[in-house]
């Protein structure tokens, strides 16, 4: 008898579509909240995206105050602790996070401190440290990639170490996620591509890692189909709101998938690569994905083959012999990366990234083998295995 068992949980209410932001005042009122604190970053503020949120509240006769717009791209424990003090000083009762992965993760971490109490985030590092629901958190993603609006994880850099700490608890999930096409319409092509490849990696790893399950598979495969269809359209027509909405929905679906099935070696190496070389997370995912799939190949061949219709379309899958489906899936991902490279110069390997020195690879491997995501990779990987993957990912100039 099979020993299979899985759990699936996503309590996040999703508000998606045209003018989704206008539903927010009523959503907060329903939760008994009247004093939300808005968290964002300077780029999002300057792009006028917070204006959409403020307008939605103004038209309901409400104002948003305070707005903290100084979250850095690579948020840290110091920033989280500073915002938590501000939240308490202003007697806020809820959080609205407007931004990408860093802003959303920061908001989750702030929510830990303002709900659980305490001054230092370090006390909550790890999994299952939270034992009760936190304050209402609304997540408004301005990039279509991290899926952070529906995940139970936050990653924050420890200011005192060159290392990112992971926080995991079902209580970290936002109460509400808003997918409004206005919020991603102005994202530049390179960021759009990198974040979409992050979502694609979430989906592929969710579908092939140890904790995959039939429900996360459904979300992951549907997200893949949307990404490979919508991303080239968005790169060709950046103001195509329908394709933007498709990408944002796909990122959320991928987030739901990997939050319930976890991820694997791409993320284990990618977290470390990002921490050591300060590369964008989506870029790390994009350039590592095919090389890790090659590493895992024998263990995931069947599952990877099943993804071909979603990655390359039904016609290609029908025309490809079943035994070649897995190889064709990797080839489809590489083709997509080439399309992206031609449109945005998003690097396809470590040498093209231009920010990585070979002397850093050992440090990256050291950090990667201690990353929690490695536990869920279908194939064991030690330090020398990670170095081999990194060596392969260096590129043709190797």
């Amino acid at each position: 008898m099979t020993s299979r068992y899985y759990e699936f949980y996503c309590p996040v209410k999703i508000l998606a579509g045209l003018r989704a932001l206008e539903h927010l005042p009523a959503e907060l009122a329903e939760r008994g909240c009247a004093a939300p604190m808005v968290l964002t970053d300077k780029g999002v503020r300057q792009a006028g995206l917070v204006d959409h949120v403020e307008l939605a509240f103004e038209e309901s006769g409400l104002s948003l105050n305070p707005v903290f717009d100084d979250i850095p791209p690579d948020s840290s424990t110091d920033v989280v602790e500073q915002i938590a003090r501000l939240f308490n000083e202003n007697n806020c009762d809820s959080l609205i996070a407007v931004g990408g992965g860093s802003v959303l993760d920061t908001a989750k971490a702030v929510n830990i401190l303002v709900s659980e109490g305490g001054e230092y985030l370090r006390a909550y590092v790890g999994a299952h440290k939270l034992t009760r629901p936190l304050k209402p958190l609304v997540a408004i993603a301005t990039t279509a990639g991290t899926g952070s609006e529906v995940t139970s994880v936050a990653v924050i850099k420890d200011t005192h170490k060159q290392k990112k700490d992971a926080f995991q608890s079902s209580h970290l999930m936002p109460s509400v996620a808003v997918i409004d096409p206005r919020m991603t319409l102005t994202v530049p092509p390179a960021i759009t591509a990198a974040t979409a490849m992050d979502a694609l990696t979430h989906s592929v790893e969710a579908y092939t890692c140890l904790a995959r399950n039939p429900i996360s598979d459904a979300y992951a495969s549907a997200a893949i189909r949307k990404i490979v269809t919508a991303l080239p359209t968005v790169l060709a027509e950046p103001e195509n709101a329908d394709a933007r909405l498709d990408l944002a929905e796909a990122a959320t679906m991928a987030g739901i998938a990997f939050s319930n099935s976890m991820v694997g070696l791409v993320h284990a190496i990618g977290h470390s690569l990002g921490a050591v070389c300060h590369l964008h997370h989506g870029t790390c995912m994009s350039l590592l994905l095919p090389y890790v799939l090659e590493y895992n190949y024998e263990a995931i061949r069947e599952d990877l083959g099943d993804l071909l219709p979603f990655l390359a379309g039904d016609e290609v899958a029908r025309a490809t012999p079943r035994e070649e489906h897995a190889r064709a899936s990797i080839a489809a991902i590489c083709t997509l990366r080439d399309v992206i490279f031609n449109a945005t110069q998003l690097p396809r390997n470590l040498s093209e990234a231009g920010k990585v020195d070979k002397s850093q690879l050992a440090k990256i491997a050291d950090l990667a083998v201690d990353d929690g995501a490695l536990m869920f990779n279908p194939v064991e990987a030690d330090r020398s295995d990670v170095l081999k993957v990194l060596d392969n990912a260096w590129g043709p100039a190797n």
Partner: protein
């Protein structure tokens, strides 16, 4: 409690003691496990237990490896590895399911820092690969390591000889 459940509980409790003492012994015998453990902070306490009050064992990282702290009915640890049910611990300790798979199937709750858990899991996998026959160990670990037979026999013998000598120590 039914006899079958009592036997299961006794088996899991015995295996936890063997694994706990085995890890403490291996930390002084096997250089790979000693190297892995060097990444954990000194004085860090580790608990393996079955929820809510099933078998358990406590360990502590010391300057020279791991110390076996024995069985406690209560108390917290810096890293708690909690089987959600006796049946889940049974699957792992009868080597029907390896620890990463048990994690993936939500049978284990980790309370503590994830990076420390990955280090501990590697130590556990290495221990099982050393002290179990290959045919059994292959089910207990994700990947059976490349290790020469004579080296495995030497290390396994050294660990088994030390297990009865690993006395229960007090926490630092």
């Amino acid at each position: 409690m039914r006899i079958g459940s009592k036997l299961k509980r006794a088996y899991v409790a015995t295996m936890m003691r063997i694994v706990g003492r085995g890890l403490a012994a291996a930390s002084r015998v096997d250089s790979e496990i000693a190297h892995e453990l060097s990444h954990l902070p000194v004085e860090m306490t580790i608990a393996m237990r079955v929820y809510p009050n099933g078998p358990c064992c406590f360990l502590q990282k010391t300057h020279d490896g791991l110390s076996y702290l024995g069985v406690r009915d209560s108390g917290t640890a810096d890293m708690d590895i909690i089987f959600k049910h006796l049946q889940h611990a049974w699957l792992v300790y009868t080597f029907q399911e390896n620890t990463p798979t048990a994690f993936a199937r939500n049978r284990i709750i980790l309370d503590g820092e994830v990076s420390h858990a990955t280090v501990f899991n590697r130590c556990l996998a290495r221990l099982l690969a050393l002290i179990l026959p290959r045919v059994i160990a292959r089910h207990a670990v994700k990947r059976y390591p490349a290790i020469a037979l004579w080296n495995k026999l030497f290390l396994a013998t050294s660990i088994y000889l030390r297990i009865p000598l690993e006395r229960t120590r007090s926490a630092l």
